[in-house]
Symmetry: C2
Subunit: 342 residues, 2 copies
DNA sequence: TATTTTTGTTCAAACGTTGAAACAAATGTA
DNA sequence: TACATTTGTTTCAACGTTTGAACAAAAATA
């Protein structure tokens, strides 16, 4: 109700009998303003409950101090912890973060990009929707000269900074581990191969199998959206094969969970009859019985690096710094679902 | 690299030989501008890839079309789906959403509020951190005349719109259900009673026990932060009582999960020896074995109502509309962890 | 034909902040 | 004492858009 006019630097100036410009400079700690004036301004500012108008300063300075983050979905631990880190780093530098969820939809992603551009964000950090194949909207960001950092789901063709883990190596680690546990026939519940990260996981899986002389069969590799339902459906398919696999490597934890449910419903002993490894190290993997082995992607690090890289880009805009492709080392967390020996 | 000057309405005006003012009016579909001019302006705008500068228009209009949302943590299904809905509703009305996580810390919450106020948001939707007891920062929002909507974690004393579920009734439903399943001694893993919602859940629990003539004992009610660890610790305590409970009602799903783990480690059959009900209906409750009964809070509805209420407030600012306290009906989802009969 | 109304546009100021340039006063240097 | 430098402040224009008032031309009315 008490909705009076907001106080501006002009009001402060009037009280002190100086100009708005002097007040502005005092507030920004300009070296040429006397300490006396500075303390006086600060005092009056507090008295009048002055709140600087970011819109005005942003307009004048051509800098909004807003950063956009586009993610497929916030409700996975992976993405939410990345966001948390990004926020932490950027808030400390005076930036605010606008989060947009694409819900894995290309259309929604485009809308979000437009909204962010309209809001005059100083930079964008994004992980692409599964659906996204056309890169036109990302090109648009680039063409406006707005710094863009991709993480996790990126595209090489775009030629921008990228942070992610080594998906190829991840698969190799998983297979190596499963082989060490005695697995001889390993299936892969894969993500869609048109997405780079999933393609790399498939490549790593194939190459590792080849290296160990294990069978690579198309019926053992099924692509999907990696949701629980997908994991369930594919697992049922796998159980119907003449020759069942003795291990399953899923490119996502939710799919792994679905697979686990089906295994249990079919009285398959995990890991003794069939071993299981997931991907992302979602918290629930350690909570279910048996707990699910998974790949830790170091999401906090990804978030931190993405944010810091963006800051660097914003600060050195136009100064043609070379591109950064940062590939982090994955970590295999071995849990009950794949621990046969001991 | 291609970082040319952005096109402004002035550029469009120059091309057409009219004034910026006319261009602005044309773009805003002003009735006094001729159709000929309007189409011409739209055409040139497209040609020059014109993007309106939101900062300038926001400054001039005194309206940022930005809305702040403060939540404790995005990684629960409950909060992330609320955000999704809020975004959906507000985006459709031309607003962008800034999300801030308090991480359950009062200090972080205050910082976030300051950041949002500085960003000149048109309104704030918030769910308070567990830690928050002092309401000074929320008063600050109100005193600036910025619409504020609370959801889930609110405070009656604040005198603002609120959306949430009927926590008291939820507890009653849970107890009624457990009693129907034959439980005679029901423990409550509670949230801290200084938070209104948890206080109400405790009240509902007590009153229901009284109604059914069941024992109300202090040793059966333990308050905590409701994380997994808390659930585990408290469950161990409960097992050490001379007289063990035969059912546990946890005010949060994570605490319920922790309790379940401890029960299983102690070879307690769930639900036969001990029944279990959680709260929030997090997705994992249906994924673990046995699946955990829980209370569905209709998060999408909460998000939608919160967003719509905010819109109404923004539109009718100062027009003294009466307060809205919207209390939704909870829904008890009965799963294996509490289904004894049949 | 004279007058009013409508239509389409321009003018000018404003939103609140910033920063380069200008300026006066105080201080330092020769 | 004369001049240069430093210090602290003011002046003024700008950022890009919006909006009410003003205005001229065209159309409608008397």
């Amino acid at each position: 109700m008490a909705n009076k006019k907001k106080t501006t630097i002009k009001d402060i100036a009037n009280v002190l009998g100086i100009t708005p410009s002097a007040v502005s400079k005092a507030l920004n700690n300009h070296p040429r303003i006397s300490d006396k004036t500075k303390t006086a301004v600060l005092q009056i500012a507090k008295n009048l409950d002055y709140q600087p108008n970011y819109l005005a300063s942003a307009l004048r300075k051509g800098k909004s101090n807003l950063v956009g983050v586009i993610i497929p979905k916030a409700n996975s631990h992976f993405f939410s912890s990345i966001i948390e880190k990004i926020e932490e780093v950027l808030n400390n530098k005076g930036y605010n973060v606008i989060i947009a969820q694409s819900n894995e939809s290309y259309e929604k992603e485009c809308k979000s990009i437009d909204a962010l551009l309209y809001t005059q964000v100083d930079g964008i950090i994004a992980s692409m929707a599964n659906e996204t194949v056309k890169l036109d909207y990302y090109e648009k960001i680039k063409s406006k000269g707005i710094p863009l950092i991709l993480f996790d789901r990126g595209e090489n063709d775009l030629n921008v900074d990228y942070v992610g883990i080594d998906d190829y190596l991840s698969s190799q680690m998983v297979i190596e581990h499963l082989v060490a546990q005695g697995s001889k026939r390993i299936a892969h519940i894969a993500g869609f191969s048109h997405t780079r990260i999933y393609k790399n996981r498939i490549r790593g899986y194939r190459d590792a199998l080849e290296k160990f002389g294990l069978p690579i069969e198309d019926s053992l590799i099924v692509e999907s959206n990696l949701r629980i339902e997908d994991g369930r459906k594919i697992m049922k398919q796998l159980l119907e094969l003449k020759e069942r696999p003795d291990a399953v490597y899923a490119a996502g934890d939710y799919a792994a969970l679905g697979a686990l449910q089906v295994m249990q419903e079919n009285n398959i002993r995990v890991p003794d009859d069939m071993a299981l490894v997931g991907f992302s190290n979602e918290p629930f993997t350690s909570l279910v019985t048996p707990s699910i082995s998974s790949i830790e992607q170091h999401s906090e690090q990804i978030g931190q690096i993405a944010a810091k890289t963006l800051l660097k880009r914003i600060e050195t805009k136009n100064k043609n710094v070379s591109l950064n492709k940062l590939i982090l080392q994955p970590e295999l967390i071995v849990r009950a679902s794949s621990k046969k020996l001991q």
